[in-house]
């Protein structure tokens, strides 16, 4: 692996650096490929599991109201449309965050109200994991100095080293780094679409497992090592091995197989935080900001423009009536459908069965990705199905929000700036969900939040901070 590092020639560190870089690169490839699901949409899952698996939802998305944007990597969970109920379900997934809203077929007024009510509930449900992730990242940045130490080592995705002495060159190089990074993302997306088109499910699944293995074992090992060093605690190898082994294996089980919901959610939050920390450490200063901006623009373009590999992915999935891989996605809805549905809807049962057969290879992937947060609604026994509406947010979104807040915390060390960015991101998330409720179609989750975050960061850093500092200096309280 090529390391853009000057210390590659230095002894013992070299091996560790090479190893770290290799693993980082690999994990990143998959992160880019899969974890980029800035996907935000509301699910209304009907009784059929299929909806959860995106199958039927895609198929039944003929309803003109809901366009399904599917972005390959990220996983979209299509919501199923319950044809029986005449409810169109759309699942929007896309990398850069789609917000998709499902429309109910019931009387509009009532439906609107229900939707908005659930929308509000799910906004809150998304706030909690996003906040937790950011808190973990900020806490680590503030306490463990490792992640703020600048190394000469850079990711392979940002090959140009910024020279702090020349502003023009720095700007140019950060732009070039951004171009490289975005192209990597686009290429990964295309590769994913191609793989999906040629039904290489095993390959995708395998690589996803590999990348989460790396995240769960290697990055957490690094993280623990740094935490112990920071707190000057002696740790022996046997105990460390036990900790990492337990953490990693239970994480793999919870994410890729079956595990308690809360634990699964916790693991996804931890994974996102770890990934964000790696980005904060290894992305050069200016490049990081430009990359954040570029990714939100890319997100916006990819979701709102009709051409693109993600569209192809979605359409392919639709044709095949299969769920798209739910990569790394965090769902705020419980999408369990009660079994009662089966007895009432024989068609759905058949469909589900068909779906199960077709989606076997993807089950694991989906299960790993979907973390359902609360939002469960229980229907009475008389009703067919229990419907859950949920909002799903991709882990890529978590990661980039945390990167923004983490960099704000790392750079100034000023709590004003950090809090301002945090609030900005939450406001952006709120607005995005609101727009979702209004427009009822897939929307990208990144642009609004990141824009607000960047604006707040730069303005707070350059305007509010000196103001507060001179107020404090003059002991003038307002």
């Amino acid at each position: 692996m090529i390391i853009m590092s000057s210390n590659i020639l230095s002894g013992v560190d070299t091996v560790l650096d090479v190893g770290q870089s290799w693993i980082t690169i690999n994990a990143l490839i998959w992160l880019w490929a899969f974890g980029f699901c800035h996907l935000l949409f509301m699910n209304t899952s009907d009784s059929e599991e299929d909806s959860y698996n995106e199958r039927s939802a895609l198929v039944q998305c003929e309803s003109p109201t809901i366009p399904s944007y599917h972005q390959d990597h990220d996983m979209s969970l299509p919501q199923e449309t319950d044809t029986k109920r005449g409810r169109p379900v759309s699942s929007g997934l896309d990398e850069p965050g789609l917000v998709e809203r499902e429309r109910a077929a019931t009387p509009d007024g009532e439906e609107e109200e229900l939707t908005l009510k659930y929308g509000a509930k799910h906004v809150i449900m998304l706030f909690i994991p996003v906040t937790l992730c950011m808190v973990v990242v900020v806490a680590t940045i503030k306490s463990v100095s490792f992640y703020t130490e600048k190394t000469s080592q850079q990711l392979i995705y940002t090959p140009f080293k910024e020279d702090p002495n020349s502003v023009g060159q720095r700007l140019l190089y950060s732009l070039l780094n951004t171009i490289v990074m975005i192209s990597v993302i686009v290429v990964m997306t295309i590769i994913l679409v191609v793989l999906y088109k040629y039904r290489c499910y095993k390959f995708i699944h395998g690589w996803l497992i590999l990348s989460s293995l790396m995240l769960l074992f290697w990055f957490s090992f690094m993280y623990l090592g740094e935490v112990f060093k920071t707190y000057n605690v002696a740790m022996d190898y046997p105990t460390l091995a036990m900790i990492i082994w337990n953490f990693g294996v239970v994480g793999m089980i919870c994410i890729h197989w079956k595990g308690p919901l809360r634990l699964q959610q916790a693991y996804l939050i931890v994974i996102s935080a770890l990934m964000a920390l790696i980005f904060i450490k290894y992305l050069p200063e200016w490049s990081a900001w430009v990359i954040l901006a570029a990714i939100s623009i890319y997100d916006l373009i990819a979701v709102l423009c009709p051409k693109g590999p993600l569209r192809m992915l979605v359409e392919t999935a639709q044709e095949r009536n299969e769920p798209i891989f739910p990569a790394l996605i965090y769902s705020s809805a419980m999408v369990w459908m009660v079994g009662m549905a089966d007895s009432n809807n024989p068609d759905s049962a058949d469909e589900r069965q068909r779906n199960e057969g077709g989606a076997l290879a993807q089950e694991g992937v989906e299960s790993e990705d979907d973390v359902a947060l609360g939002g469960r609604r229980r229907c009475s026994a008389e009703e067919d199905l229990e419907e859950d509406r949920g909002v799903k947010l991709g882990l890529g979104d978590f990661i980039f929000y945390s990167v923004l807040v983490g960099k704000a915390a790392a750079n100034g060390g000023d709590w004003n700036t950090t809090l301002a960015c945090f609030v900005a991101i939450l406001i952006g998330l709120c607005l995005t969900l609101l727009l979702l409720a209004i427009f009822k179609k897939a929307l990208p989750a990144l642009p609004i939040s990141i824009t607000f975050g960047l604006v707040f960061y730069f303005s707070t850093d350059n305007l509010v901070r000196p103001f507060m500092d001179s107020l404090a200096a003059h002991q003038y309280y307002i």
């Binding site: 002696a234 190898y237 105990t239 337990n246 308690p260 999408v335 369990w336 089950e363 790993e368 990705d369």
Partner: protein, 114 residues
Amino acid sequence: MDLSRVFFTGNSTMNLERMPNEEKLSLCRRYYLGGFAFLPFLWLVNVLWFFKEAFLKPAYTEQPQIKSYIKKSALGLILWVAVLTTWITIFQHFRARWGEVGDYLSFTIPLGTA
């Protein structure tokens, strides 16, 4: 009524309440067996997750078996906790005195102390 199918496709959302009892038993058993691979954390998760199922729910056919798995997992967990606590105490206390062996075993060595 095909709860097993519902369950299978919906394994992304782990909700014990909607799982059929056989599945619960099988899951509990797998977690129990998995814990033997040096995974006390898995046993802990098993105990916490199935505790309500095993002890606080009205009886059903699979419940006694789930109860036994939970008890065995808890036993294994306590054993592991005891072993680890003992080892950590010994290590922390005697690390400095062990000299080379202590350093060899250490992942991080605190600075500024003996």
